[in-house]
């Protein structure tokens, strides 16, 4: 499975806004590059990123070929309760990676 790294603070005060940073390993082949023989290399990118917090969707992103390889995405959410924040990347050729992090809200 492709490597993904997420950065979620382990313990947070209720109501605090936290910044989540995510990084996933993917070449994000644009579909515009050619080999030295002139053949077009087909598009192969991550299309969708979804983040859920104890099962409820809190953030969603649609990627296009202009997103750099090994995509970084940072966004915010309000720390409402303890539980699990889950991250899913899906894309071409059946690409699917999930990662999750536990958060304790005090």
């Amino acid at each position: 499975m492709a490597r993904a790294v997420v950065n979620v603070p382990a313990t947070v005060k209720r109501g605090e806004i936290i910044e989540i940073k995510t990084l996933v390993q993917h070449a994000m082949e644009t579909g515009f590059r050619r080999t030295q023989l002139g053949e077009l290399i087909p598009r192969d990118i991550i299309r969708l990123f979804v983040c859920t917090y104890n099962g409820a969707e809190i953030f969603r992103a649609e990627f296009h070929p202009a997103i750099s390889a090994n995509p970084l995405l940072a966004f915010s959410t309000v720390a409402t309760e303890s539980g699990t924040i889950a991250f899913t990347w899906t894309g071409d050729k059946g690409f699917s990676v999930t990662q999750s992090a536990r958060i304790t809200v005090v």
């Binding site: 936290i18 590059r33 030295q36 953030f59 992103a61 202009a66």
Partner: protein, 121 residues
């Protein structure tokens, strides 16, 4: 790019302000350009940013990223890294819960092309 923008706004007017697009004006390499968008908004259930769209003027495809936020976001701010094929304008559009659209744009000088590069075998 105008078509891509119209698809987002449905023809509604784009207002300047509230949106801040952060992209360096001169970059090391067009393959990976740091980009952040911040939108002024209380992010309450009745007044929040629903979506942020980033488009470019001169990439092979205009759309770059669309993100969908809500009151649970707390803050309307996202950051990522994008590919820019040429010196051009980059535009961010924020779609608000009240149906209004706000925008900011930055002119970026790119000294090395990203998307149209030959693959090194």
């Amino acid at each position: 790019m105008e078509d891509a923008i119209r698809k987002v706004t449905g023809g509604a007017p784009l207002r300047s302000g509230r949106v801040k697009l952060d992209v360096p004006p001169l970059i090391d390499n067009g393959n990976s350009v740091a980009l952040a968008v911040t939108v002024e908004s209380p992010m309450t259930p009745s007044d929040h940013v629903k979506a942020i769209h980033v488009v470019t003027e001169r990439n092979p495809l205009p759309n770059v990223l669309s993100v969908y936020l809500g009151p649970r976001s707390g803050r309307a701010r996202i950051a990522t890294r994008v590919r820019l094929a040429d010196t051009q304008n980059v535009i961010a559009i924020a779609q608000m819960s009240d149906g209004s659209y706000w925008t900011d744009s930055v002119h970026v000088v790119v000294t090395l092309s990203a998307c149209l590069e030959e693959a090194l075998v």
